[in-house]
Amino acid sequence: MGDIGSTRSLPLPVPYQNRVLMLKNYLKIAFKVFLRRKFFTFISLFAISFTLVVLMVAAAFLDHTFAPHAPENKQDRTLGVFFMEMKSPNDDSTWNGTAGYGFLDRYVRTLPNVERVSIFSEPDLIHSYQNGEKIPAYIKRTDGAFWQILEFNFLEGVPFTETDDKNANAVAVINEATRKKFFGSDTAVGKTIEADGQNFRVVGVVANVPFLRQIPFSDIWVPISTIKNDSYKKELMGNFIGLIQARSAADFPAIQDEFKARLPQVEFPDPKEWSKLRGTPETYFNSIAREFFGGNKDHSKTYGGKLWAAIILAMLLFMLLPTVNLININVSRIMERASEIGVRKASGASSWALVGQFIVENVILTLFGGVIGFIISRFVLRVITESGWFPYAEFQMNYRIFLYGLFLAVLFGLLSGVYPAWKMSRLNPVQALKGASR
């Protein structure tokens, strides 16, 4: 048998060069076909690259929001106490929200077998006035440990410390953008800024942190103890988040168990009003997933897996239409290749060899589209970054997204290539040679 391109029935000791030669031939044929009908190649490439652009931009978004980026370098071993739920004795009132400082300080900061615990507030939008101009800025109140768990890039000065927080020193760390708004191109350390009616001495300047990174994000960071009124110290629910740095991810279950064991011991100031507290220390992704799937409901479960499944499902659903579109184009083009298929079949190529060839051809096309998509994605991401819709966002391509895009291109090529290839390989050689329709 004149086995030009059988990928299946060849015995194992294949001369390696043969395979390479075969692939080279496929490539040659593929390019000839692409160039023959330029309009069709254009439609296919348009569909492929557009699909991959949307999916890669979405991936860059998720990567930007959830993947470990500085300053969250220790993300793989930190847990957060994000959302808590407080209930009244007969369950008719529920308070959903972030935890209070009192609860975190007394029951979370004291957790055993953890490296560090930090407590910080959610970012709060405030306005300062400088020479009659209004400067909006987010302010976050943190403790000293915050600067140790998160590794900010300091452009100037140093973070404030545990002692600053203890003594309620009016000191602040600001980001680059805030420095520019207040001081132009000058240095900021040692100078004073006014925020929320208080004056703070700047001790450090850090690089901007994107808005979508909700744990580290802010414009101005000041010690918690500078809050004007100290009643927050007793709150069980409030606007604080606890961040727990474990020795390793292996300690997570033990920490979660200990946390849960402590909840029934919480002392309530007025047990007739509120008497139950629920929550779970979990990763940021899992907490977002919990919010996404009906909030606080079941604290014995994590919802991260479900969110992953939803993301993958959404991705596949989105690919459905482009896939069907590409299948359609490919199927309708089978007859163009009828004589080629006829010749190959008549000279003994197996159906499998033909299927292999057409799939390879399609994958080459999708990879080509992938390259174009990659370039367009970079452009789109730059436009989104520069639009300022998401403060300080820096959407970029990295190797994770590149690999993901590559995977998608191949997957897309396979999905849209299998059916047309199978149909092509089933053409009757005699009819194919005749160039018959149907």
Binding site: A47, V54, G197, K228, V324, S437
Partner: protein
């Protein structure tokens, strides 16, 4: 003719099935964007119920104690709030000022479900709120001195809530929380106080132009009763043309009046823009993606039809040789496409109609739904028709002689 075209479509069922599938999915994509657009457009044309121009929102953050301590502290807080309000009114730039739990375009909702069936968004406002927001009462009255010391709690509701509670009856004077409809726990409560409807609003769309239509109730905050809490926000109507310089002056004054409270000033016009952007931005992104998808589908369809015309040269040539006019060939190709589109769209409509039955897309009313289906159908037919034009024209160019000597 029609029967004949159906037969032709059936003869090429494999490839036509794939096109039908593509049109079906396209219909779903178009519909999901259109239903959102129609929903927003429908909401947008409803009355807003207030005037946001030249109104500033001042968010007041009061660090409150909890439980008994909070109750003890409350009279002082209220007293201080009154002083703050008075201080704001002293400025010449201020036309009027009032307190409210939420001003329009503020984040967060106070959702209330005090009877078994009806849920609505609530707000507690001081008497001046009517002047600040320029609220128009369509029936009954606004809060006033006659409510002081009354045995009931006065409440003003919008038409939507009135309809949900009392249908077409006049709601004025009726309770918002009828005792017999309360949840079992609250019904036996000795502290039951009637919430009496004293006024009716056309509407008050706190979350802005794009927000859903929902029941809305305004309670009175007299800043004197033991149940009254200091409102979380101030709504201030300023003279037109007031600038940020005044903002700074105002803020300094507020901070002097209440040192351990935090204030944030923002014009409602700016808050409105931010809130509306939250509806329009995803909408724009979806439309953009869906638009590109449709261009892709359109190009694909042109390609497929073109290819099929080239393949059917012999068939078309034979028809021409037997005397069919160019127009008939043109009609045949477009007719076939129309039938395929109808099949795909029909399945799409059948699927889409299931959504309300399954409770998905609960936000859209039947009217919005019907409009969306019609618009989506029109768009899909327009798309396929445009894609069919060139291939059909190509088919009319087939010369019988050329086609017949093909083999």
């Amino acid at each position: 003719m029609f029967k004949h075209i159906c037969k032709l479509v059936w003869n090429r069922k494999r490839i036509n099935f794939l096109i039908t599938l593509e049109i079906f999915i396209s219909f779903l994509v178009v519909f999901s964007v259109i239903v959102l657009a129609v929903y927003y457009a429908d909401n947008y044309r409803q009355p807003l119920g207030f005037d946001y121009q030249n109104v500033w929102n001042i968010r007041v953050e009061i660090v409150q104690k909890s439980g008994a301590a909070e109750k003890e502290e409350r009279p002082q807080q209220i007293e201080r709030y009154r002083r703050v309000l008075a201080a704001v009114r002293e400025f010449g730039e201020v036309e009027s000022a009032a307190g409210a739990t939420y001003t329009p375009y503020m984040n967060g909702n106070w959702s209330n479900c005090n009877t078994q069936t009806t849920c609505y968004w609530g707000n507690a406002v001081t008497d001046d709120y009517k002047d600040v927001m320029r609220i128009n009462i369509v029936r009954g009255r606004w809060f006033g001195k006659e409510d002081d010391g009354a045995s009931y709690k006065p409440v003003i509701i919008n038409r939507q809530l009135a309809r949900e509670m009392y249908g077409d009856e006049d709601p004025i004077g009726k309770p918002l929380n009828p005792r017999d409809k309360m949840k079992p726990g609250d019904k036996e409560d000795d502290k039951y106080v009637e919430e009496r409807i004293v006024g009716l609003l056309n509407d008050f769309r706190k979350n802005g132009e794009f927000a859903e239509m929902k029941g809305y109730a305004m309670f009175r905050n007299s800043l004197s009763l033991p149940d009254d809490r200091p409102p979380r926000a101030l709504a201030v109507r300023v003279q037109p043309g007031t600038t940020a310089t005044f903002e700074e002056k105002l803020l300094k004054r507020l901070q002097a009046e209440a040192r351990d409270w935090s204030f944030t000033i923002k014009p409602l016009a700016q808050m409105r823009e931010e809130m509306n952007q939250r509806s329009t931005t995803p909408m724009t992104a979806f439309s953009l993606v869906a638009g590109f998808l449709m261009v892709m589908v359109g190009l694909g369809l042109i390609g497929v039809l073109w290819q099929s015309v080239t393949q059917r040269m012999k068939e078309i040539g034979l028809r021409r040789a037997k005397g069919a006019t160019r127009q008939r060939i043109y009609n045949q190709i477009l007719g076939e496409l129309l039938i395929i589109t109808t099949c795909g769209a029909l399945v799409g409509v059948l699927v889409v109609v299931q959504f309300p039955l399954l409770g998905v897309l609960g936000f859209a009313t039947p009217k919005v739904y019907a409009y969306s289906i019609v618009i989506s159908l029109a768009l899909i037919y327009a798309l396929t028709a445009i894609c069919g034009l060139y291939p059909s024209w190509l088919a009319t160019k087939v010369q019988p002689a050329d086609a017949l000597h093909y083999e």
